[in-house]
Amino acid sequence: MIPAAGADMAAEAVPLDAPPVRATSLLRRSLRLWRTRIGIALVGLLVLIAIVGPFIAPHGSSAFVAAPFSPPGKGAVFGTDHLGQDVLSRLLDGGRSILLMALIATAAGLIAGVVIGLVAAYARNALDDVLMRGMDVIMAFPQIMLALVAAAVVGPHPWVIIVAIALTTVPRIARVARGAALPVVERDFIACSEAMGVPRWRILFGDLLPNTLGPLMVEASLRMTYSIGVIAALAFLGLSTNPNDPNWGLMIQDNRTALAFQPWGAVMPIIAIALLTMGTGLIGDGIARTAAGIDRSRGAE
């Protein structure tokens, strides 16, 4: 089996006269793998917690429940945190902001990256070079570094972090999109569409895009995994507008000093983040394996 990493998928040429695998059919086929099912179950569980959590939380997220760092007991199932707040209630409350920010940032980066990658692949001229060298410049910054620079200058507002993460997602998606689209651009049906006078945007999004969806879906789930990690890490580093924000990353930071005697305050958000990123990782791997399997069986025909 070919591994999940998006970069490899991009290198895999789509077999020449195969019709595109539709995204829905790829997803459906990937559901035959246990790893995809487990991944979807994990992500579903965490998304459910993030959405309904605030409504079923036993206490307010900043309500004082018991002495700081109380062990689990009556009234606080997982004990209390550094300010005497209920760990469970904050856990149920803390997923929404991370998930929402990661989703918006990844989606924005995905859209911009796909447009740039497809345009670069289709242009086949200096525009390709200019766009991809521009992408190289952004790639030179580790994701967290650009977010830190932005937070240092503008302040750690949620939208600043979203823009920074989206911006650093763009070149990584664009590379995959361009890589997957390059062999398709050379094929006859594109020349045919050009000869028929199909508008350029329809060639890009009607002909090229469907043929690049496999690698793109894999890369998108990989990017989602990293976006969640970076956003949680930024809160962990103390970059959040509200110093008592119920946010999983910040919870770990606030409660890790008490690991020795009240570990639940840090352990519960760790479990939440770990299950979420594992879930997106497993989904990506399931799709990658399915796409590789389809390509392989076509190669054998």
Binding site: A5, R133, A232, A233, T277, G281
Partner: protein, 325 residues
Amino acid sequence: MRARFRWGGVSRFIVRRLLLGLIVLFMVSLVVFAATQALPGDPARAILGRSATPAALAALRRHLHLNQAVFSQYWTWLTGLLRGKLGTSIAAQVPVTTLLAPKLVNSAVLVAVSAVVSIPLSIAIGSWAALKRDKIFDTLSSNLLLVLAALPEFVVAVVLVLLLATTVFQVLPAISTIPPGSRPWNFPSYLVLPALTLVIAVAPYVARIVRASMIEVLESDYVEMARLKGLPERTVMLRHALPNALGPVFQVIALNLAYLAGGIVVVEYVFNYGGIGSAMQEAVINHDLPVVQALAMLIAAVYVVLNLLADVATITVTPRLRTRL
């Protein structure tokens, strides 16, 4: 056996890559400068806060050359950068180079230790998994690596502290504060947990690429040929398969060393390890823009140089790529 080298082509390739790298670095400097100094708004006020006196604001503006035109601000900054003058840290009131030089050594030691452990380890795991494809070792290692690769570094770091330094076992220090003036190699136990975190962050990714690349090579005709000739499996692996599987691996190693350069921000912060990563976190919290600028430039430069080296290394170990030069 040995293909004839066309060093003319290779050196021309290196020169071209070098020029391209310089152009990217120049554009990176524009981005860093634009992001930190040319943004709308007053950096002096951002640094000093709302309660700053007009005199303090004016003094800081002069200090940051904010009273000049944007282009000449950039020129002052860039020429300073090229001469190693990175300005003065606003929080610490010492030259940025004096502040960062010892921290740079600490971080370099940490990254080097992580790389020396993680690269051979991941090549070994990846190759072994490819050789035992779909057997128990491969299935177990693939799934474990998949899960580990998905975990953010700070989660790995805190879990390691939980397991090895606080709650479960207390065998290693939870905090790796290197006293000022000392060197990290005098405190080997301080390096274990930070380095282990970075290894766990990087090794899974490299191992997976090695496995994929190795599987492709093992299925090739020349490996089959070598086996049919009756060569021992050891020779087939080490002399025929591994060198050919390593081409793409250089790219991944470079990418991951660059990734380590970003990962150290979080890992050094968790362990309070005095390197450039924790310096970055501090500088961001303190709005210490000269330090932020210097570190962003430094880490981007590391990335560009590593990529350059990886491209050259790939060309050197993959003779068939040279025909395209």
